[in-house]
């Protein structure tokens, strides 16, 4: 069963550390435990979303710059 990566808080989801940089991860990438897969901006602060465990073939479920809710799945992986 696919493992889901959840946002700990509501905010705006970003896949890149800054607009000029590459995505943290792309669809199909392998993920190690502790890897940052995205960041959430909430109340003028930025929080990394880190994978709690390793996985293969990550698939993102929300777009860069999308508004997300707390506990919303932002990606899944096998």
């Amino acid at each position: 069963m696919a493992k889901q990566l959840l946002s700990p808080l509501p905010g705006v989801f970003y896949r890149r550390p800054s607009p000029d940089e590459a995505n943290f991860k792309n669809d199909g990438d392998a993920v190690a435990a502790g890897d940052t897969v995205g960041i959430v901006e909430a109340m003028k602060s930025f929080f990394p979303i880190e994978a709690e465990e390793a996985g293969v073939a990550i698939r993102f479920l929300v777009e860069d710059g999308a508004a997300i809710d707390a506990a919303q799945a932002i990606a899944e992986m096998d």
Binding site: P8, P10, G11, E41, M43
Partner: protein, 455 residues
Amino acid sequence: MTIKSLFIANRGEIAVRIIKAAKALGIRTIQAASEADTGSLACKLADDVVVIGPPQAAKSYLDIDAVVAAITASGADAVHPGYGFLSENPRFVSAVQAAGVIFVGPDAETIAKMGDKATARAEAIAAGVPVVPGSEGLISDLNDARAQARRIGYPVMIKASAGGGGRGIRIVDDEASLETLVPQAMAEARAAFGNDSLYMERYISRARHIEVQVLGDGTDVVHLFERECSLQRKRQKVWEEAPAANLPQRVRDAICASAVALAKRVHYKNAGTLEYLYDSETEEFFFIEMNTRIQVEHPVTEAITGIDLVQAQLRVAGGERLWFSQSDIEAKGHAIEVRINAENPLKMFMPSPGLITGYAAPAGDAVRFDTLLYDGYQIAPYYDSLVGKLIVAANDRASAIDALTSALDTLKIEGIHTTVPLHKALASNPEVRNGRFHTAWLEGWMGAGGLSAKS
């Protein structure tokens, strides 16, 4: 001319505060709102609401073209910028004035001059106001560093002139350490920034943050005494008070006089704040910067002087000369403000936006709560986390802290996490109660488990 209608180019608790001040003066209010803010308390209280753009601040409250277009269309004769957003943006001020609308604040030139650290420092020196002793120009080599450090006095802080955000900063205690640290810092700066020039200034290890409120009409300037904001986390003020605890009267007189001298030199108009570092061991104070707007913590000054600063801003902007002189202003008692943020202090201050499922304002004599909250309000994640400011006043500091504790017990905010537990812990802390803290104290106390140990 007297202002008859006012456009509020801000949001949150300060928008509510400005609307109340305008209403007290019989001024019609027009509230700017992003699409996420149309249900805000400010929008409920204002006479009119204008939607200026999408939720993201960059596309609404920070979009100069959008805000100026909304101001012009509203027919307002003045704009209050609040704090943050466009309040200290000279380009915005020029655009407002070009549209024939009064900006409630100083002119663009003063904002630009005092908003730039280098020119503000030069103005301060010209006005005879002490600034943090620093190197004259950049440091080119070790010999130069040695000479400059002797003049400035140890300990000194060396920074890469191309660095920023605290990178490449070293604290140097004596000449022996300087001999090793300067070449190191230069090599590092060259590697990191391709530029090895350094800047040096006196390091004040236990600095307190003291600031002076001024009010000018372009000719006369008065001060409304000082505030202390030394309790900070990540350079954000957490707890502010007026007057500063344990400040010798001689120092108070000197620091307030210096603020007036600098504000007079730049013909300051409207409310402003001059920020200083204060070294309680040597009783020296140093000007660091000026904020050319109303500050978050202005209510503590209002509580001890009885002067409504936002109403004063509107009257001065409308063309009135100051209606009181320095000798009419008296400071009475002690006031404390704590910032109630939608953050979980027990979980690394993670933001906690969400639905307010229960709310009761704090109760008590001389208790004030400036807030954007109401029962059923949805706090959006797009803006900063300040949801309210609890202000208490009493005859003396100890009684004010007791009043703060009681008020915190009666404040009810349900549905989100807030920083109330932090303030309760601070209010019962002996060092806070004795007024023995500096700008690094709070983080040190938290690092040592102060918050978790207490609650």
